[in-house]
């Protein structure tokens, strides 16, 4: 025991850092920084004067540790045929059920999509759509009937869907001021909001709240649904994320100078309601990822029966005509995978199927062309010898 201790202390001494090389591999840096070599030489000179005999007595033998000898305990998995087949089968048996469940869930979603942007143009304006939509005087009301194909259970989500609308356009995405939205104190933080930053021309004019192109282009079509002469109540509360209404949009920030400049982009805001309660705006401000997107308009909390006819009374205010965008009204139930989308189910089934196929392939491969694991006769130099 004593011997052991002594040896340890000896080791400690051995590994005392060299006074001038705190890095154990100090000379590694030489090639990167050649000037250090000079320093090293100087250091060595010093060192030799200080105690040449002392340094000689100390052994430079690296202290043994599993780490430095690269012998840390390690798990070395090797995928044997069994494991390969098992993993393919496991994936297959996991993916096929998930795919089926997803497909089933997607099938159960009932979705009504009604494109109205063309239908809602009066015949007289068909030739000059932009004039119609840009004219503030023309009657934009449009009434259409849609039929419910299947029973829809509440909550039924009412979306509007825009096609070919690049809410992810770089210029558009950047044109907002999150600070201004959050707090009245940052009213003047409108740097990124050009060209919808200030009103009244000259720089230093009154700020627009909420500023920027996103808010400016707020969607402003409205929908009223009537079922059998009874107005269906569309609940527009709670359509935005709670985190947005609570934190991101300030309850002390009120719209100001909004849509007052020469060019009106979209919806207007009630200046007496704080931004945190303007849920349409909040939803709109969560810019969509893709050029075809839906945004939540409201929820209907009654069920719709199959073959019900619903009358949609909508105000067709929003101008997508000038750039060839489409507008659609969507009523949809929901499931655990979201809306109606068969893709994931199909994808999972495909992947699962492929895995099953691969598993079979590999079984055949291992049966008909077996190779003993680690057989040295397969080593290239042994193979050469055999040939």
């Amino acid at each position: 025991m004593l011997l052991q201790t002594q040896r340890n202390t000896c080791h400690d001494r051995v590994n005392l850092p060299h006074p001038h090389s705190p890095f154990p591999f100090a000379n590694q840096f030489n090639s990167i920084h050649p000037q250090i070599k000079l320093q090293k030489l100087v250091a060595d000179m010093n060192h030799n004067v200080n105690g040449p005999s002392k340094s000689k007595r100390l052994s430079k033998k690296p202290q043994y540790s599993r780490f430095t000898q690269q012998e840390l305990p390690a798990w070395k998995p090797i995928l044997t045929p069994g494991w390969v087949i098992a993993s393919f089968l496991a994936i297959a048996f996991l993916f096929i059920p998930i795919g089926l469940v997803s497909l089933f869930a997607s099938e159960r979603v009932v979705e009504i999509v009604y494109r109205y942007d063309q239908d809602c143009i009066p015949e007289t304006y068909r030739g000059n759509v932009t004039a119609y939509i840009q004219n503030s005087v023309t009657n934009k009301t449009c009434i259409e009937n849609i039929t419910v194909p299947k029973k829809m259970d509440p909550p039924i989500f009412v979306y509007y869907q825009l096609d070919n609308f690049y809410q992810n356009h770089r210029r558009y995405v950047k044109s907002r001021s999150d600070k201004q939205l959050r707090s009245a104190a940052y009213e003047f933080t409108t740097k990124d909001c050009e060209p919808e930053a200030r009103v009244n021309t000259t720089w230093g004019g009154e700020p627009i709240v909420p500023c920027g192109l996103i808010a400016w282009s707020l969607f402003n079509d409205t929908y009223n649904l009537i079922k059998q002469d009874k107005v269906l109540d569309i609940n527009k509360k709670g359509i935005a994320w709670k985190s947005d209404t609570k934190v991101k949009f300030g309850s002390n920030v009120y719209p100001k100078n909004f849509q007052t400049s020469n060019l009106i982009g979209g919806g207007k805001l009630n200046e007496s309601i704080p931004l945190s309660e303007q849920e349409d705006l909040i939803v709109w401000m969560r810019t969509a990822a893709l050029p075809t997107f839906r945004k939540l308009y409201g929820k209907i909390n009654v069920s719709l029966e199959a073959h019900d006819t619903i009358t949609v009374v909508l105000q067709n205010n929003y101008n997508t005509y000038s750039f060839g965008g489409q507008k659609k009204l969507v009523l949809s139930t929901t499931s655990w995978i979201g809306g109606k989308n068969d893709f994931l189910g199909i994808a999972y089934l495909t992947v699962g199927g492929i895995c099953l196929f691969m598993a079979l392939n590999f079984i055949l491969l291992y049966v008909f062309k077996p190779r003993p694991l680690g057989d040295p006769s397969y080593l290239s130099w042994n193979r050469k010898a055999v040939n």
Partner: protein, 1157 residues
């Protein structure tokens, strides 16, 4: 009376002091032998450059005038540096600008900088200011901190160095002065064991003959003492009393530590000064009470300081290939950018009329009174801007971080190589050294090993074995009896003095040497041993031993051969006990005799011999000559005793055929007139200012003739431990081992046999010619024989079919640099073994170049001496053996180690690992960055080509800093494809590196195709799954971020072979770190993506998407990998399986299979 001569060993026979100085002169410059057309060989006086240097008169313009003891006059113009040194690069004020300036010399940082600057332009601001600068700033900061720390250390050591004290003559008294205040021209006094503060010319020493012994270990690593001399004219003066005032005219400061040329005008006389009169800064005075000298070079102008430049920077093969692939990646990058900008142009063109009214575009700004374009610069500029913006967005396609990761990985790999206790040499207490950090991975691809012999394959610890005296061979049985008695010793003042090294002796010869009488043979033995004891430059130093009554005589000298000879002479009763520049004292069988050393002709490579002129006590004068047999037999008077000459020649042949190094000794008595003639010419020559070396050589040649042959000695240079096994391993690993030696052919061949390089089954082709025509003929013949042999025996793959080529330096003179090179290459590449003997240092480099310039194979040169420097620098990888012969080879090398056999773990284990790791890391980094860029690219196609990124800018920046940086480095340092045991047991596994299996263009393309697939999966699964949904871009961006990070980490995890806790920690830790970072970013309310990850995470669709992406993206890779593993398993795969599933018994069985083949 210059006495410093280079190592006298066969290996350096072609390597005179002058040439050695050339090589030392140029050891830093990257030597490109091929293009400069330097001649290989000694045909037309390869020393001419060296001689012309010494012959050159010092021009006044090139001279530095030093007035002894008058520093003010010396440095009137303030042009000479003071003695303070400054190795620190920065001061507090200059640190920031200088450090930044230096850092931006790297291309990678410039790329970062240009991207960051581009991003600052308002039209191009893709990332926020902070995000764009962060990567550059973090890299700069880390490097700056490292530099600052190192500089601080340098400043600290400068300060210590500058404030050391030395005694300097001020106003005729020696006063202590700080080193930094010493000036050129001042007279400095140094006591024993003190370090020299600057380069000084010796004036006088405590020794009456003006000798000072210095240790130059700090300068060149040679631990033996060297002698330096004060000039006759000054050595008797005592500076305090007898003021020396003289003028030294010396060369301008230069870095040649083996050369110095000057003359001194003193008392109206002009004396010349040479390298033996100067002591350089950093040397230590030993065995001399004091020495006084005048400072001639100080501070940064000292030779020690001038010699401190970095190791030559090499670039690894892998990195060179990598740069080609990076060019491809740049091409991809430009393609992506062109696609994006072209599409953007088309989009803008098609929507030209709608731009004003698009709610998401708004070309016109109506907020001002005047309606003008808002951020629209015309179609052309918009296209141009989108091109630049796409460069910024896709910048990480060029994996700049890879360069930094590679550096870190190499540091880590070097750490493990240095720390490997299997490469620690206990006998010399040296660790492995990694001097060049850039070429670790080259160690895994070596195809050719060029090895020096002496000191590399052999120990360079010379042992006197046999002697042939006057035609009688004394190579009988050795006896231990005498050794046990303690060997020969003498009594001095009641103390026993004995040689430090005991030598085994031949009893018969010992008996004969003891009985000195007047018989002819006794006289011959007397002369022989006297020659051995006297004809050398060995300095005996008496050291205390553990026994108070006993002192040991340590023979210090520069040549191990000479040491061995002097120890042998001592063992036979001819003990050298004192040497000054004027006389030597030899104890001959108990009787002290003093001989005057009247002159000495140093060893040089032309003569290949040295001679000493001894004045006997009875005033007869004899010249003793010792040298290589080829040079000695020419000057021996054969008519005297032809039988003896023939017998000696036969003995020499038998000695060298058992691998011994031989020297021949001869002698001649000089008549008075002969001596006088010699003395006159010697004096003229030695004081000549022009071409002194050449004149001296002429004088020597005139003197050294008509010698009586005394005999020959045979010295054994033993093989180092483990050399045969190491060579066998290297050859099994399909490396070609070539031995290049200065030794004789017989010696080389015998070493070849003992080191198992040659086997008896091999057929040998010997090329030994004296003219170009005959060389050509023998090369042609050899090629034909070689082809025949290979054709005949190709059926049986065995040693029998292998051919060994033995070629000597003289033939190489006619082959290298001529059209015959091509034939030699063709022949050599067919041979399994090539032995080149009698080669000069530059020829060694020429042979390396022969292979290097013609093949794509990696070359490694290993050597220990100054004569290997050129070869070490020429080869792709240079390895220095830090052995007996100083540090020049080490200084020029990329890696240095203590023993030849460490080459096996270095190449087979570390080289293999380094190569595999680095190769994988490079491909992985390409994949990792390209995947991210491609995901960004696909999204750009859905944003009207406007380079929006759904992934937040912070995630983009952190991607290569935090999300994925650590695992690749950790795996790059730690992963091991095979264990050390298997790699050592199957050297053939090394072949994967030679065949470039882990990194090649095919793998690059495969990786890129895989990357494309993975990026498509990662991008399109979410897009299709969330098509026509109300997903916002932040949420989708978070999904992509997580998907990509998970993918690259799982991809890596699939390829990790050994899972240590560090691999687990880094891979899973990165994933966790990424999640944490994404959560933190999404918890910042002023970012648009606030809370997105939480909303996203609560939906099932997200998890299904993520899981689906991970599985679908990895399936092709997994399938291909498994299929290849089963059907076309590589050697590494099989060995790995064997490691895991077969026990050790079966490993041996497979070893047998291998032997059966």
């Amino acid at each position: 009376m210059s006495n410093l001569h280079p190592q006298q060993r066969p290996d350096t026979f072609q390597n005179s002091s002058s040439q050695r100085s050339i090589s030392s002169n140029s050891w830093r410059a990257s030597v490109d032998f091929g293009s400069k057309g330097v001649r290989h060989g000694s045909r037309s006086g390869n020393d001419s450059e060296g001689f012309s240097m010494s012959r050159r008169e010092i021009n006044d313009d090139d001279a530095r005038l030093v007035y002894v003891n008058d520093p003010l006059k010396t440095n009137e113009m303030f042009e000479f540096a003071g003695n303070s040194i400054r190795t620190g690069k920065y001061s507090v004020i200059t640190f920031l600008p200088r450090n930044l300036f230096e850092q931006f010399h790297r291309v990678a940082y410039m790329y970062f900088l240009i991207i960051a600057v581009l991003n600052q332009l308002p039209q191009l601001a893709v990332f926020g200011r902070g995000a764009s600068i962060l990567p550059l700033a973090s890299v700069l900061f880390v490097t700056a901190v490292k530099d600052a720390y190192e500089d601080w250390r340098r400043h600290k050591s400068d300060k210590i160095e500058n404030n050391r004290m030395a005694s300097v003559l001020v106003n005729d008294r020696f006063e202590l002065k700080k080193w930094k205040d010493i000036q050129v021209g001042e007279v400095v006094k140094i006591s024993a064991d003190e370090t020299i503060p600057c380069d000084i010319v010796l004036l006088s020493t405590s020794d009456p003959t003006g000798v000072a012994y210095v240790q130059t270990i700090n300068l060149d690593g040679e631990s033996n003492l060297k002698t330096r001399y004060a000039k006759q004219e000054t050595l008797s003066r005592i500076p305090e009393k007898d003021i020396i005032s003289g003028l030294i005219k010396c060369e301008k400061p230069n870095r040649n530590i083996y050369g110095f040329q000057a003359n001194m005008e003193i008392d109206g006389k002009r004396v010349s000064l040479g390298p033996s009169n100067i002591i350089l800064r950093g040397c230590v005075i030993k065995n001399t009470d004091w020495a006084v000298g005048v400072a001639v070079y100080a501070g940064r102008e000292t030779k020690a300081m001038l010699n401190n430049s970095g190791a030559p920077s090499k670039r690894s093969r892998l990195e060179t290939h990598m740069n080609q692939e990076i060019m491809l990646l740049s091409f991809f990058l430009v393609t992506l950018c062109v696609v994006v900008s072209a599409c953007a142009g088309v989009w803008l063109r098609r929507h030209q009329d709608e731009l004003d009214l698009m709610p998401f575009y708004r070309r016109k700004d109506y907020s001002e009174g005047k309606v003008e374009n808002y951020n629209y610069y015309g179609l052309g500029m918009e296209i141009f801007f989108s091109f630049l913006m796409s460069v910024i967005v896709f910048q990480i396609m060029i994996p700049i971080s890879l360069y930094i990761s590679m550096e870190l990985v190499r540091v880590g790999q070097a750490y493990f190589m240095i720390r490997d206790d299997r490469m620690f040499d206990a006998s010399s207490n040296t660790r492995f050294q990694c001097r060049a950090l850039n070429i670790n991975e080259d160690l895994g691809q070596i195809k050719y090993v060029f090895s020096d012999k002496t000191g590399t394959l052999t120990e360079n610890k010379m042992e006197f074995q046999f002697a042939s005296i006057a035609g009688v061979d004394y190579s009988g049985e050795k006896t231990e009896v005498y050794v046990e008695q303690g060997g020969y010793n003498i009594q001095v003042d009641g103390q026993v003095w004995r040689p430090k090294v005991k030598v085994q002796v031949d009893p018969k010869l010992l008996q004969l040497s003891k009985t000195l009488n007047d018989t002819k043979s006794s006289k011959e033995i007397y002369d022989f041993f006297l020659a051995l004891a006297a004809c050398n430059t060995i300095v005996p130093i008496v050291v205390n031993s553990s026994n108070p009554n006993e002192k040991l005589i340590d023979y210090q000298g520069e040549s191990p051969d000479e040491q061995a000879l002097v120890y042998a002479a001592a063992a036979y009763g001819f003990m050298l006990i004192e040497r000054t520049s004027g006389h030597i004292v030899i104890d001959i069988q108990g009787e002290r005799q003093r001989f005057n050393v009247l002159g000495m002709h140093e060893f040089d490579s032309d003569r290949k011999r040295m001679s000493v002129i001894l004045g006997y006590p009875d005033s007869t004068v004899k010249v003793f000559v010792k040298g290589a047999d080829t040079s000695m037999f020419k000057i021996i008077d054969e008519s005297l005793n032809l039988d003896v000459v023939r017998a000696t020649e036969a003995h020499l042949h038998s000695y060298s055929s058992v691998g011994l190094r031989t020297l021949v000794v001869g002698m001649r008595a000089l008549s008075v007139s002969e001596f006088d003639t010699w003395q006159t010419s010697y004096e003229i020559a030695s004081t000549a200012l022009m071409g002194r070396a050449g004149l001296l050589r002429k004088v020597a040649i005139n003197l050294e003739n008509n010698l009586t042959l005394l005999g020959a000695s045979a010295i054994e240079d033993r093989l180092q431990k483990g050399v045969p096994e190491a060579i066998e391993s290297l050859r099994k690993a399909n490396m070609k081992v070539w031995v290049l030696t200065g030794d004789k052919q017989e010696t080389a061949i015998s070493i070849g046999y003992s080191s198992r390089l040659l086997t008896s089954k091999m057929s040998q082709i010997v090329i030994n010619n004296n003219s170009k025509m005959s060389c050509k003929k023998s090369l042609e013949d050899a090629l034909i024989t070689c082809k025949k042999l290979i054709d005949v025996t190709s059926a049986t793959d065995d040693d029998a079919s292998s051919v060994a080529l033995i070629i000597d330096g003289t033939s190489l003179v006619y082959i290298l640099d001529t059209e015959l090179e091509e034939q030699l290459f063709e022949l050599a590449s067919k041979c399994a073994v090539v032995l080149c003997c009698r080669v000069a240092p530059l020829q060694k480099a020429g042979i390396v170049a022969l292979i290097k310039n013609r093949t794509d194979d990696m070359t490694l040169a290993i050597g220990d001496g100054a004569n290997d420097v050129s070869m070490i620098q020429m080869a792709d990888v240079g390895v220095g053996i830090s052995g007996q012969e100083g540090r020049q080879a080490v200084m020029a090398s990329d890696f240095a180690m203590g023993q030849f056999r460490f080459l096996v773990p270095l190449l087979l284990v570390h080289g293999h690992w380094n190569y595999q790791r680095m190769a994988y890391m490079i491909l992985y980094n390409f994949y990792r960055n390209a995947l991210f860029v491609l995901v960004l690219f696909w999204y750009v196609l859905y944003t009207g080509f406007t380079l929006t990124t759904a992934i937040t800018e912070w995630s983009s920046v952190l991607y290569s800093i935090i999300y994925t940086a650590v695992p690749t480095i950790v795996i790059g340092i730690l992963d091991k494809d095979l264990s050390r045991k298997s790699l050592m047991a199957y050297p053939q596994l090394y072949g994967s590196g030679q065949r470039k299996e882990s990194y090649n263009l095919k793998l690059f393309w495969v990786t890129m195709v895989d990357t494309l697939w993975q990026s498509v999966v990662a991008f399109f699964i979410p897009v299709l799954a969330y098509w026509k949904s109300d997903i916002d871009s932040s949420s989708l961006g978070d999904l992509w971020t997580l998907a990509v990070v998970f993918m690259v980490n799982i991809h890596l995890a699939m390829d990790v072979i050994r899972w240590t806790w560090l691999s687990h920690a880094s891979i899973w830790g990165s994933i966790i770190a990424t999640c944490i970072c994404v959560i933190i970013i999404d918890a910042i309310p002023v970012l648009p993506g606030y809370w997105a990850i939480f909303i996203l995470g609560s939906s099932g669709l997200f998890w299904i998407c993520l899981f689906g992406i991970l599985v679908a993206s990895m399936i092709p890779r997994f399938v291909v990998k498994m299929f290849m593993q089963h059907c076309k398993p590589c050697d590494i795969q099989i060995a790995r399986e064997a490691e895991k599933f077969r026990n050790s018994m079966e490993v041996t069985r497979s070893g047998e299979i291998e032997m059966h083949r």
